[in-house]
Symmetry: C2
Subunit: 222 residues, 2 copies
Amino acid sequence: MRAICLLSGGMDSSTLAYLAKSEGYEIIALHFNYGQRTEQRERNASRTIASLLGVAEFIEVDIGFLTRFGGSSLIDPSIPVEEFDVSRTGLPNTYVPFRNGNLLSIATSCAEVRQADAIFIGVQSQDYSGYPDCRPRFIAAFQQAIDLGTRDETKIRLITPFLHLTKSDILRTGLRLGVPYEHTWSCYQNNEQACGRCGACHFRKAAFAGIGRRDPIRYSPE
Amino acid sequence: MRAICLLSGGMDSSTLAYLAKSEGYEIIALHFNYGQRTEQRERNASRTIASLLGVAEFIEVDIGFLTRFGGSSLIDPSIPVEEFDVSRTGLPNTYVPFRNGNLLSIATSCAEVRQADAIFIGVQSQDYSGYPDCRPRFIAAFQQAIDLGTRDETKIRLITPFLHLTKSDILRTGLRLGVPYEHTWSCYQNNEQACGRCGACHFRKAAFAGIGRRDPIRYSPE
């Protein structure tokens, strides 16, 4: 069995790759650079995780064209990354429109050529920021698009083991599988020390706190 | 009204852009370079058409990563482009897996940021080579993915006016709209004179022959 794993180098996708491997898949890791603020750090994290896990192939894909459209603080330096705010309604400004549609399309092209059986993506509908392209019904719709938009003999299953898990559940899974979280990167804002205040840091810290474990990465002093 | 138009610079997509403009849309033309054999010629054709039509914005997007996956004669120089053969069964080797999934995902990201009302794509299910990502049911599935994977307030309509037309029908439409076909490019194989023998040339020549008009571009001598 062969699987394409979307690997950003963050907590969820690194756990995902370890999980897919533990289920017997040969892993092709797909990493995306899209001009995000922490591009360099995420690239290093994903390379390290892929190498420690022992993937069959590591492919970096440049989708920097997303920065040309803009519209998100992750890829437009003129928009500050907003800090986590429990009272906010609507989407955070870190939302990159239809990013997962893009990632899954590229993964599908790769999967069809490489004859992979599955695409693993670490989307999560709980503990999440309400990104529309992380919702279960989006995933179901995209599975349909894959089924109808590839060769009839191609069968690619979109696998989302974390869809209904909390971030703490994911962490428990990863600790059981030996994921080296010290090499992962989640912060949206910084490349050196994690900011501790953006949405990604907020949820990561809450996940470690939720199971009473210390996060091995370093955060900026408050 | 604003529309994203996928503009390769070929006969169909050029007609499509003229049609969208005639319906009152402000046009954002999206052109893709993906390492195809005729990249340079298609880029020039699409720029010329966009400029003659008077688009609001012309965006070139590089999706050269598709060449890294390979698997198609359009993007892998080691696989010869097959000539049109009426007796062939199955997909021609010019099929680029899930290419339209990629193009539509990028168009959706662009449309959501630019607040466009529609995406025009010149897919056609008749006279076509059986590419799965040109089928009406793929288009319907992708519309679902767009609806569920973008902001709830975002409404982007996927418009495919040529889905059930023949290539001759498209040509009739374009001649009525004044599309300058001498500046379009369809050949999969050559950048200078169209080969006349690949699938794209075959269908183009048949379309002009079907309505008794001379194709204004030059073909290689037989």
